[in-house]
């Protein structure tokens, strides 16, 4: 035998001499959420200074903070589920139309069919989640890129919501009686507030906490990352790839329905056009948060922080009395800088080849 295992198996392990001790800073920067945190601090400093320059102190007041937290919460509520789905290697572009659909279901149930608000919210949650399951089922069954499948369902759901709503109610904007909401046992879960502190902020934190727990602490979370890393390898190791993906599509749809409930309870209405643009903003928060477009890597905390940066930028511009049209410029710049930073951090600190 040319190869003996004279001392092979118990060698004091030569490969480890290629590992060097790394500092705590490097280790922290190696976390996927590190880039998002840095970006958010930069955004805050930038708008604080801008506010200072134009003599408006509202941005860094408690009141101003609560306002941009609410805006961040709106996108953050869907951001967690979108990040999880992205880590599993899939997209959901239909999420914006699902928000519109879910809101309209509440509106029609309550006004056209005279149901109590809680029943409307429940039906909306169930139907919308079902649409998410269908999204996932189509993606898994056809094997097509989810980008294409959910782009198609984005059009279909938005179009069907508009057409059916117009047919049933003759309008596309449905007001919901405020007293019906005020007397409902569960509506408060979605529109409760003290001053500028809105319950949406709690939903954002709650969903992010649940998402982070699932991703970091459960078997299912390990499967999510594995499925995104390589579906075929995950399948070979016995991970139920299709089930994981379908559940995550259901999750994004469910979070869309939660956001729709928050919006319709807060604004006392539902509107077929609500949720437009949320698909791309949610993906933006996930990318700022360090999720890879190709899947297999990312962080829920990062996405939640990314939503915060988005909210700050959107409101910071208004507070600084800059023309709000500049918001999209800020958003695009933010995204670009975040991706470059995240890439650099990943190479430099996570030690990937």
């Amino acid at each position: 035998m040319t190869l003996t295992q004279a001392s092979g198996a118990t060698d004091p392990a030569p490969p480890s001499d290629r590992l060097r001790r790394v500092s705590v800073t490097s280790r922290l920067l190696g976390r996927p959420a590190a880039g998002a945190l840095i970006i958010t601090v930069i955004v805050w400093v930038f708008f604080a200074m801008l506010s200072l320059a134009v003599g408006a102190d509202v941005f860094y007041s408690a009141e101003g903070t609560l306002i941009y937290l609410d805006v961040a919460a709106q996108v953050g509520i869907v951001g967690t589920a979108v990040a999880l789905l992205m880590i599993a290697g899939e997209f959901d572009l239909s999420i914006g139309s699902l928000i519109g659909f879910a809101g309209i279901v509440i509106g029609i149930c309550v006004t056209t069919y005279g149901m109590p608000v809680w029943a409307g919210i429940l039906i909306s949650l169930v139907l919308t989640t079902l649409l998410g399951v269908i999204n996932g089922f189509i993606v898994v069954r056809t094997g097509l890129p989810s980008f294409i499948v959910t782009l198609a369902t984005l059009f279909i759901i938005r179009g069907a919501t508009q057409a059916l709503t117009a047919q049933i109610t003759q309008i596309t904007y449905i007001p919901i009686a405020p007293d019906k909401i005020a007397s409902d046992p569960i509506a408060g879960l979605f529109n409760w507030s003290i001053g500028n502190f809105k319950v949406s902020i709690l939903w954002w934190i709650l969903l992010a906490a649940i998402g982070a727990y699932i991703l970091g602490r459960t078997r299912f979370g390990n499967w999510i990352t594995g499925v995104g890393g390589s579906p075929s390898a995950a399948r070979n190791l016995g991970v139920p790839v299709a089930r994981v993906k379908i559940m995550l599509f259901a999750g994004t749809a469910f979070s869309a329905a939660i956001l729709a409930a928050v919006q319709s309870m807060t604004f006392f209405s539902s509107d077929v056009l609500r949720g437009q643009g949320y698909e791309l903003r949610a993906i933006t928060t996930a990318v700022i948060g360090g999720c890879l477009l190709t899947g297999g890597y990312g962080s829920v905390a990062g996405a939640a922080i990314g939503a915060l940066a988005l909210g700050m930028a959107q409101i910071g511009i208004v507070f600084a009395s800059v023309n709000a049209d500049w918001y999209l410029v800020a958003l695009g710049t933010l995204l670009l800088v975040a991706v470059v930073l995240n890439n650099w951090i990943r190479r430099r600190f996570a030690g990937l080849r």
Partner: protein, 296 residues
């Protein structure tokens, strides 16, 4: 086929895993036709074949990714049918794929337990036991010869040989009795290949059956107990250790004549070089129309 046998008297009497005359067709393409293969406990069977000989298709049938169109599989003499990779895993057959078995962007311990995560707690509070995962992964990697200080390190930071090692350690930990190694050395350097070959030997010595797929005769010959040759989807026979040498193996794999030609050419070049004769190669640069400074 269901010949119920009494429990095997000694390990190695009955093959741990057999493919009996299996065939697989993809449309009009014959991927594998009438191939038989077996591996016994404490043996390494090298599956040899050139690129496109059908090695991958054959092992995908053994590991439950494909089901054979004809023929059957047997585990310890009992006919089985694998409908999914999970079925093969449950039967103790673990496959380590060339580059597909680990996730570069996941940590070592998470990779180790992907699909088999240890949990603690109960009901909705059942959670991934990361402390146990880290401890076991570190121990198992150490047993097999790699000292991992930080199991949170991403697998993407490991070398190719270390990734193979991780996949092998994982397979053994989860009770594999048959280890299928798919071209484990094809992307590795000499030193790393040696590490992986050593793992194959030590797995064999611990009583596992090993199917070692390769097109590298130099890697197969020193470690194999039996050699099964595949050429263009058909079996080129199974041989015992000592029945074949390198040239014969190459010839059987179908690459013999090309290899001889290459060898003659190389020898001629070497002779000329030794005699100080100008080797008639086309000067780089001129024929391609490149400038003289492109060489450096």
């Amino acid at each position: 086929m269901q010949a119920m046998q009494p429990a095997p008297a000694a390990a190695g009497d009955v093959p741990l895993l057999e493919a009996r005359n299996v065939s697989k067709y993809f449309g009009a393409v014959v991927a594998i036709e009438g191939v038989s293969l077996e591996v016994r406990a404490g043996q390494i069977n090298c599956l040899l074949g050139d690129n496109g000989a059908g090695k991958s298709t054959l092992i995908k049938m053994l590991s439950g990714v494909h089901t054979p169109d004809e023929g059957s599989l047997a585990v310890e003499g009992q006919e089985v049918r694998f409908n999914a990779p999970r079925d093969a895993l449950d039967a103790g057959i673990a496959t380590v794929y060339q580059d597909l078995s680990v996730m570069p962007l996941m940590s070592i311990s998470r990779n180790f337990f992907l699909g088999n995560e240890p949990t603690k707690g109960f009901g909705p509070f059942k959670r991934f036991d990361s402390a146990k995962a880290a401890r076991v992964a570190r121990e198992e990697m150490k047993n097999i010869g790699i000292d991992v200080r930080d199991t949170d390190q991403l697998v993407g930071t490991l070398s190719g040989g270390e990734r193979q090692t991780l996949a092998i350690a994982r397979a053994e930990y989860f009770g594999a009795r048959v280890l299928i190694l798919d071209e484990p050395t094809s992307a590795l350097g000499v030193k790393e290949s040696a590490i992986v070959l050593r793992h194959a030997i030590s797995a064999r010595n611990r009583g596992l059956g090993v199917i070692f797929i390769t097109h590298n005769v130099q890697h197969a010959l020193p470690i194999g107990d039996t050699f099964t040759i595949l050429t263009r989807g058909r079996s080129g026979g199974t041989y015992k250790r000592g029945e074949l040498d390198v040239e014969e193996l190459h010839r059987l794999m179908g690459g013999g004549s090309e290899l001889e030609e290459l060898q003659t050419d190389l020898e001629m070049l070497a002779r000329r070089e030794a005699l100080g004769v100008e080797v008639p190669t086309v000067p780089i640069g001129e024929s391609e129309g490149l400038g003289p400074d492109d060489g450096m």
